[in-house]
């Protein structure tokens, strides 16, 4: 099994029993005050990894809108922008279906786990300087655990640590003596640690 698949599966399996357990043991009083509602999150993040030769640090910006079904689960969708290397041609517009699970905690800080599955569109389709003639996106997924720190009413701060995966394809022209039509097609798999900070409202 691929490492990213193993990581996702691990996360999912880890979250599921936790949520079930959390539901079963949550206090009755907490359920009584809960009202289903929409919630919005905007997060900025750093993507840490390497391309096999050097360390690569990218950035991300994303919005996620979820509907909090119950105290333990929210589902929704999100979109964002991510760059995996600071060369043109490696930036993507992902959009996902999002699942968030909340862990009951006695204090004000609320732990959560999150899985997002979707597709990342290539941002730069052509870049003459790099001889990039076509770029395509691919499967995009991330999983994360984090905490939500309430600030005021619905406003909260978010900190999360996760794993980010993006599949992509880039096609480059190759210059040669005879000006023949030569291309290099790269099938890319980006894997990153994703550290995010954001606000919930």
């Amino acid at each position: 099994m691929k490492p990213w698949k193993a990581a996702l599966l691990l996360m999912f399996l880890s979250l599921t029993p936790l949520l079930v357990k959390a539901q079963a043991t949550a206090g009755v009083g907490e359920q009584e005050v809960f009202r289903p509602h929409l919630q919005h999150e905007v997060q900025y993040g750093n993507l840490f990894g390497n391309d096999g030769q050097e360390v690569q640090n990218g950035v991300s910006l994303q919005y996620i809108g979820t509907y909090r079904i119950n105290p333990y689960l929210a589902i929704g969708a999100g979109l964002g922008a991510q760059t995996y290397r600071f060369n043109s041609g490696y930036s993507y517009f992902p959009f996902w279906a999002v699942f968030k699970g909340y862990i009951p905690a006695a204090g004000r800080v609320r732990p959560f786990g999150q899985i997002a599955l979707g597709y990342g569109l290539a941002l730069n389709r052509k870049e003459e300087d790099l001889l990039l003639v076509d770029a395509r996106g691919g499967f995009n997924a991330n999983s994360a655990v984090g905490i939500e720190i309430p600030v005021h009413e619905e406003l909260g701060l978010l900190i999360s640590l996760g794993y980010q995966y993006q599949a992509a394809e880039s096609t480059y022209d190759i210059a040669n003596w005879w000006l023949t039509d030569s291309k290099e097609i790269q099938q890319l798999r980006f894997r990153r640690i994703h550290l995010q900070l954001g606000v919930k409202f």
């Binding site: 490492p3 990213w4 193993a6 990581a7 691990l10 996360m11 880890s14 979250l15 936790l18 357990k21 959390a22 043991t25 840490f48 990894g49 390497n50 391309d51 096999g52 690569q56 995996y84 060369n87 862990i103 009951p104 905690a105 006695a106 204090g107 732990p111 786990g113 300087d129 790099l130 001889l131 999983s143 655990v145 905490i147 640590l161 996760g162 794993y163 480059y172 190759i174 210059a175 040669n176 003596w177 005879w178 000006l179 023949t180 039509d181 030569s182 291309k183 290099e184 097609i185 790269q186 099938q187 890319l188 798999r189 980006f190 894997r191 990153r192 640690i193």
Partner: protein, 425 residues
């Protein structure tokens, strides 16, 4: 609260998975798709055979054209020569096919057809066009690129599409990209010349070729150009031409056009003018330089017409017509350049200049004023791909291209009238 440690367990679990190097390292699988050049060899025992005459066959991949009296010769690239009875241009009649492996060029003098047979020059007697007779062979007359004891003569390189799995950023071809930089392996460069690339010469008992020719007859001698040289053959023994001398010209030599006792040689970097008054010792008079391009030449009076075109083998992006004043043969002067689509062969009759414009057919220009030719298009021939053209007194234009042979009545250049066509398969 008692579940809260599970959160830390999760973070630990995630951190552990992320700590595995492969989990945070990109993977990349690259496929390179490029045009490779595969050497093609010909064994002497496979082509040094008596030339065979066959019944007429369809045009499949027509190349150059040549007119000799009422006979029209059409090269079938690398395969031989179609013989057409063209006494009635409205109804040309194919009468046979001369199978000459490796043939791309030809010229006729005194009923003797001279054609390349890979590296050899063969002579075929056309006294009776309906029954040509193999007359002789001059071995190793045409320069080749190498000889291998087992494989034979290296005669050309064919382009083939190649797909290779390669490590990302480590393409081992003549160029590769790493970290956004393009590297070109200058040591990997290679040369390949193809006599099929590009043919007009006239005298009493010789025929007329197109402007894309590499063979021509002048001053009772046969002249052949290869990528770098001009070769002179004596025809004292018509059945077996003898190579008399070779003159180094330059690089990227493509076409040869005789005019009086001068030879005009089209090359990638310009038009060479040679004095040919001593046929066995052509002397370069000048070089009219232009942008790197493929460039057939046509000469009429004191004016030379040079078409420059782009394309893979031409190594450029230039498409234009250069009109050159050659009043002083030692100092040709550009009169004016005109932008074109993708000009190939050309010809001129009276005051009309005919230019093959690839898939756009043939464009016809009023050449009365050299300064305004390009902006004075007066007619066109369309609906086919045009490679080369021959115009003949009698107001006949013969055009060849991928789609076949087309003949036009050009008594009114502004309204050419199609007489006939022989279509390719």
């Amino acid at each position: 609260m008692k579940n809260f440690p599970t959160f830390y367990y999760l973070i630990g679990l995630l951190s552990l998975s992320l700590a595995l190097p492969s989990c945070v390292q990109d993977s990349c699988e690259a496929t390179v798709v490029y045009q490779g050049f595969e050497p093609v060899y010909a064994k002497p025992e496979n082509f040094r055979l008596p030339i065979e005459y066959q019944p007429p066959r369809h045009l499949e991949n027509p190349g150059k054209i040549y007119v000799y009296q009422d006979i029209l010769l059409i090269n079938e690239r690398e395969e031989g020569v179609h013989i057409i009875n063209n006494s009635n241009p409205s109804s040309p009649v194919p009468i046979g096919f001369v199978e000459i492996p490796g043939n791309v060029d030809m010229a006729v003098r005194g009923n003797m057809l001279y054609a390349d047979n890979y590296v050899d020059l063969v002579a075929i007697d056309l006294t009776n066009p309906e029954s040509p007779v193999f007359a002789g062979r001059t071995e190793d007359a045409i320069p080749h690129q190498g000889y291998d004891e087992e494989l034979g003569y290296l005669i050309r390189y064919d382009q083939i599409p190649v797909t290779e799995e390669v490590p990302c950023d480590q393409y081992a071809g003549v160029s590769f990209r790493r970290g956004g930089t393009i590297f070109i392996d200058v040591a990997a460069g290679g040369g390949a010349f193809d006599l099929s690339n590009e043919s007009s010469g006239q005298a009493q008992d010789v025929g007329v070729g197109g402007s894309m020719a590499r063979f021509t007859l002048a001053q009772d001698h046969l002249y052949v150009v290869d990528e770098y040289n001009l070769h002179v053959f004596g025809l004292a023994a018509p059945k077996q031409p003898e190579k008399l001398t070779t003159v180094n010209v330059g690089w990227g030599i493509e076409t040869l056009f005789p005019y009086g006792d001068k030879l005009f040689i089209g090359a990638n970097n310009g038009m060479y003018i040679f004095d040919n008054s001593v046929p066995t010792a052509p002397v370069q008079l000048s070089l009219f330089q232009h942008a790197t391009a493929c460039d057939p030449v046509f000469v009429d009076g004191n004016t030379a017409y040079v078409t420059l075109r782009d394309g893979q083998e031409c190594e450029t992006f230039t498409n234009q017509l250069d009109v050159v004043d050659i009043t002083s043969l030692t100092n040709p002067v550009l009169i004016k350049s005109f932008e074109m689509h993708n000009p190939h062969g050309l010809s001129k009759l009276n005051n009309a200049l005919y230019i093959c414009e690839n898939e756009q057919g043939v464009k016809i220009f009023d050449a009365t004023n050299p300064e305004t030719i390009g902006s004075n298009q007066i007619g066109k021939m369309t609906g086919f791909q045009a490679y080369d053209i021959i115009t003949l007194q009698g107001d006949l234009a013969i055009v060849i291209g991928e789609d076949g042979l087309y003949q036009y009545d050009i008594s009114d250049p502004a309204a050419p009238r199609r007489l006939s066509n022989l279509l390719s398969l």
